[in-house]
Subunit: 150 residues, 2 copies
DNA sequence: TATTGTTATACTCTATAACTATA
DNA sequence: TATAGTTATAGAGTATAACAATA
């Protein structure tokens, strides 16, 4: 294996800084995603459960928009979660074309448990780096959230 | 949220920090990914070109390990990039089981251009935040790279 | 025999287009 | 006609298992 690879150069301008930061974000996201190997739930499924937990019931179209996928794609995700008994699909009262999607009690439990499991690896990693680096990441997290919401 | 029931483990700053940071990373990665809608190259293909540019020539197994995919999966990605003329595949001189994968001149040009296009949104966003926040993100990028390589 | 790359095959997730039912 | 959801189908991207070439 190629162990003596050269690390990327330090950023010297805004363009390089953007590039480094973008690559770091993608790499870490991928690494974090790889940690979910233990559970069978996909990122898309988990994101739907998490959205329902945080923001409450949604229609199909609302979920699709929030997760930035198409309605058929979201429909498929919702089908599998419904089959697993993690969410409920009920016709809306006011407009019977719409459906109301919400977590079941089991779904609520599963999303909490899954989030904890997925945090575990990162928590372990954070425990082993210096406190000042943890502080940097905590500050960065806030900035990143703001950037993502632009 | 759990208000009346106490969780099994004591509340930990590290756990909350891990959760916040993980969510921020995913959200930003997703936001950045949405920005690449214009070009046809997948994240996986682009990551291979970028790795070859930053770290130089690789064998197939080295690339697969670096990108954390299986050899057949990487082989497929490499095939499509070779067909597009963006990388070259040559038998290694010392061990003829191995192949050496490297960027072509066109591949080198494409990775630079694609990176610039993909960086554009983030670069614009970074230009509008305070310098101390940019500095925080630059420090965070280094730490994140290290975490991802654990 | 072990290792490197490759092919065969299947599964998951995503998308577009077409269909239904309701408004 | 327009909208919400669904079904049909196809295209990426990934994986495991089996194979070929070389060491």
């Amino acid at each position: 294996m190629n162990d003596s690879t050269t690390p990327p150069e330090p950023p010297s301008d805004l363009g390089a800084a953007a590039s480094d930061f973008r690559m770091a974000t993608f790499r870490l996201a991928r690494r974090l995603r790889a940690q979910r190997a233990v559970d069978t739930m996909s990122d898309g499924q988990f994101a739907v459960l998490a959205a329902l937990k945080v923001f409450g019931p949604h229609t199909l179209a609302e979920l699709a928009t929030r997760e930035r996928v198409t309605a058929p794609s979201m429909n498929r995700t919702v089908n599998s979660l419904e089959e697993s008994g993690l969410l409920s699909r009920t016709p809306s009262l006011d407009d019977r074309r719409k459906i109301t999607l919400d977590l079941t009690d089991e779904g609520r439990a599963v999303v909490v448990e899954t989030a904890r499991r997925r945090d575990a690896w990162l928590e372990g990693a954070l425990a082993e780096i210096p406190a000042d680096e943890r502080a940097t990441l905590a500050r960065a997290a806030k900035i990143m959230q703001r950037l993502a919401d632009r």
